[in-house]
Symmetry: C2
Subunit: 197 residues, 2 copies
DNA sequence: TTGATTACATACCAACCAGTATGTATAATT
DNA sequence: AATTATACATACTGGTTGGTATGTAATCAA
């Protein structure tokens, strides 16, 4: 009964929304309870404290979202550069207006919590490393099958791509502009082209 | 007496430090007062409320730092690509360990405050636009003197460069690693090379 | 000299917060 | 049938927060 419980899941998803909007520290438990129509007793039945709730949001929702959107599709692509360009394109189109306004949940939490809570930092770092290693793995596969230049350092490239994606969403969030997001994505695909042999 | 007052300046700088570490919402006025060795009466004498203090930090400290570190040096460079590569290099070296751990003050505030306070958002946006326009101006100057490819869209490129810089510092902050920062900067300079004619 | 303004200092307050204590209906176990 | 554990629900608390009310010493203007 620890996992895949509907009440627990409702709490998790409401917590994700509240944290995505307000940040973790400013996220109010009472507000999460109102959102999910659940009581404080239920919350503290499933999570020992606010921090544990935050950790669960990172490990169960955010990590899963990265896997599902960025990594699994890329595993099936034969040309990683084509695959990445496609994903960037899809990302720009599939993000809702609210998603543009709220930015990347991983990066938001990252900037807020990394310096003040090492438990958060390590869990967020795990997700970032999963992401970077997934991209690096795809780039190396491309180097093997000849779709990616053999001279590049796959992990460094992957890191830069993830960083740029995060940065693009930052600027778009501040500018409240899908155009900024697309202009950034456009230029990132130009960089990707330079990785071809 | 409204400006360049030593007490006011002390408050501003302590506020900057506290906000840089904790974020704006979590920044405690009492903690700022302890840092600056000033009393609440003094703080509320110079700033009507916490928000106004935050605005002043953005407009007087953060904006000025962007101008001084990124824009003024670039004005004097004859080749903007060389200039940018030099600045990225200097940035990587001149950042203190603490600076790496705390990340970019502008981007931190941006992600925290943009969705929940439009006054903050607009002031931060002004700084980002100053930054992007400064880079774009330099790139256009390069297009004129033949050091930059004429086919690129200067503003879009500038936006991408700023976004990537922000993203690099995000990942480095989370990883607590200067290596990540340098690897990202390295790849950003590779992108910059592709802007040459 | 005197009245007003500036530049703080101290004490206090209402609101909100995460967390707890206690109670209870239901379901599982023995 | 009796006992125990689960899954909540409600009421409360101590600590912190941004902000205010009030007071005062020093400076400036008339």
């Amino acid at each position: 009964m620890i996992k895949s419980n509907p009440t627990r899941q409702k709490i998790l998803e409401s917590a994700f929304q509240e944290i995505h909007l307000q940040g973790f520290q400013a996220a109010s438990l009472n507000s999460i309870l109102t959102r999910s129509d659940v009581t404080k007793g239920a919350l503290y039945h499933y999570f020992p404290d606010k921090q544990a709730l935050g950790f669960a949001v990172v490990e169960e929702l955010i990590k899963e979202a990265v896997l599902q959107f960025w990594l699994r599709p890329l595993e099936e692509a034969s040309d990683p550069i084509d695959g990445l360009k496609g994903l960037i394109n899809v990302a720009g189109k599939s993000l809702s207006d609210e998603d543009v306004l709220l930015g990347c949940p991983l990066n938001n939490l990252c900037l807020e919590m990394s310096p003040i809570d090492d438990g958060f930092r390590q869990r967020l770092k795990q997700v970032y490393e999963l992401w970077r290693e997934g991209f690096a793995w795809a780039l190396r596969a491309g180097q093997t099958n000849g779709t990616v230049k053999s001279t590049i350092n796959a992990m460094d490239c992957a890191t830069f791509i993830v960083a740029s994606l995060a940065g693009c969403r930052s600027l778009a969030k501040n500018a409240q502009s899908r155009d900024v997001l697309n202009a950034c994505g456009q230029n990132l695909t130009l960089y990707l082209d330079t990785l071809q042999p």
